[in-house]
């Protein structure tokens, strides 16, 4: 059966309109705080002027389904804000997060969240970095994963693995398995500075085998914690 031309054109124009809506949405709602075009900050001073995480490689980083959900019901991914330096103050026992200084992310309705997520997923300047990561499917127990993540690699120092357990200068990782693409996790662990020259995430020279274990551990964590 041949479909009439108007049918094909209406589908084409609705897809094109959706993409245009998403791009326009990113410009009107996101660009004021997020960098959508790159490049990454080249100096600490420049980094300190950025209000929110760069999104110019969002399509290489996030899972689309997580973006659609999160944009409708945003939760705090970074307990000390995008850049901890801009949101901490000296406390009685230690430095503390100045909660009053943390911005709240606006929520979008389903249609706008879907359009924004689709537009973000088109931002993929780092396909080559992602393509370098070859991850075989597999699982890892929480105990074994924690051994690699904490004891061997020291990642717990900066990342929460439960809502109230771990460090806070980096993003929480108990939902990373549902939030981030597995290849992105592997790549950012392997060469953080390839993504952000001025990231405070160190390159700890973690072996290929342990990078795979960390990816699987974060997947296990996200399933166990069910925090999305």
């Amino acid at each position: 059966m041949r479909l009439p031309l108007w049918c094909f054109l209406s589908v084409f124009y609705s897809v094109a309109a959706h993409a245009a809506d998403g791009d326009a949405l990113l410009q009107s709602e996101c660009a004021a705080c997020h960098n959508l075009t790159g490049p990454a900050a080249a100096t600490v001073a420049e980094l300190r002027t950025r209000k929110a995480p760069d999104l110019f490689y969002a399509g290489n980083k996030f899972r689309r389904e997580w973006l659609v959900r999160w944009l409708q019901q945003p939760t705090r991914v970074r307990p000390a804000g995008f850049l901890f330096l801009n949101h901490i103050k000296p406390g009685a026992k230690s430095d503390v997060v100045d909660a009053a200084s943390l911005p709240t992310h606006p929520a979008l309705d389903t249609a706008r969240a879907t359009a924004a997520a689709d537009a973000l997923m088109n931002l993929r300047p780092h396909d080559a970095l992602i393509a370098k990561e070859k991850l075989a499917a597999g699982t890892l127990s929480r105990a074994m994963g924690e051994m690699v993540f904490d004891k061997f690699s020291g990642c717990l120092a900066c990342h929460l693995i439960e809502p109230e357990y771990g460090g806070v200068s980096g993003p929480e990782l108990y939902s990373a398995g549902t939030r981030l693409q597995a290849e992105y996790i592997a790549s950012i662990v392997r060469t953080p500075q390839a993504w952000q020259p001025k990231t405070w995430m160190p390159d700890k020279h973690i072996s290929d085998a342990n990078i795979v274990k960390i990816v699987r551990y974060l997947d296990t964590l996200s399933k166990e914690n069910k925090h999305e």
Binding site: V44, E46, I88, K93, S94, L156, C158, G167, W200
Partner: protein, 141 residues
């Protein structure tokens, strides 16, 4: 014919002149890269680097009380502790920053910063730490 020759000579002259200009430009760029990198790239101060890489664990005051310490199995070094800091040589501190805690038989939680900091920047950080502890270089001092 004579006119053509003159034109060719002029053209040849300008081609060589352009190449020469390019070579001179490249020489200046290479010289700047090796001898004055700051002229080509904006650089961070030791205080900038301390803020971004060290404060998260060692604290805004450098006293080892950063925002990450609550669940750490080993507490970060207090950089204001003159007694402890003077017990470490500049070379040991340099090695700890560049290669991480394990390189000096300390905690894996102290990461290696070799991939983000040049040797010159690490040397700058060592000097910065000496201002925090108000102490001098040298083992056992």
């Amino acid at each position: 014919m004579n006119k053509l020759k003159i034109r060719l000579k002029k053209a040849d002259f300008y081609v060589f002149s352009g190449c020469e200009r390019m070579i001179i430009g490249l020489k200046i760029a290479v010289f700047s890269l090796f001898f004055a990198p700051g002229a080509l790239f904006a650089s961070d101060t030791a205080a900038d680097n301390y803020a971004l890489y060290c404060v998260q664990c060692h604290g805004l005051r450098g006293d080892g009380k950063g925002i990450n310490i609550r669940d750490m199995s080993v507490q970060p070094r207090d950089h204001t502790d003159a007694k402890a800091m003077s017990g470490r040589s500049d070379a040991e501190i340099f090695k700890a920053i560049k290669e991480g805690g394990l390189a000096i038989d300390k905690s894996v939680q102290m990461p290696p910063w070799a991939e983000v900091l040049s040797d010159a920047e690490i040397t700058g950080l060592v000097s910065y730490l000496r201002t925090l502890c108000k102490c001098s270089n040298g083992a056992g001092k």
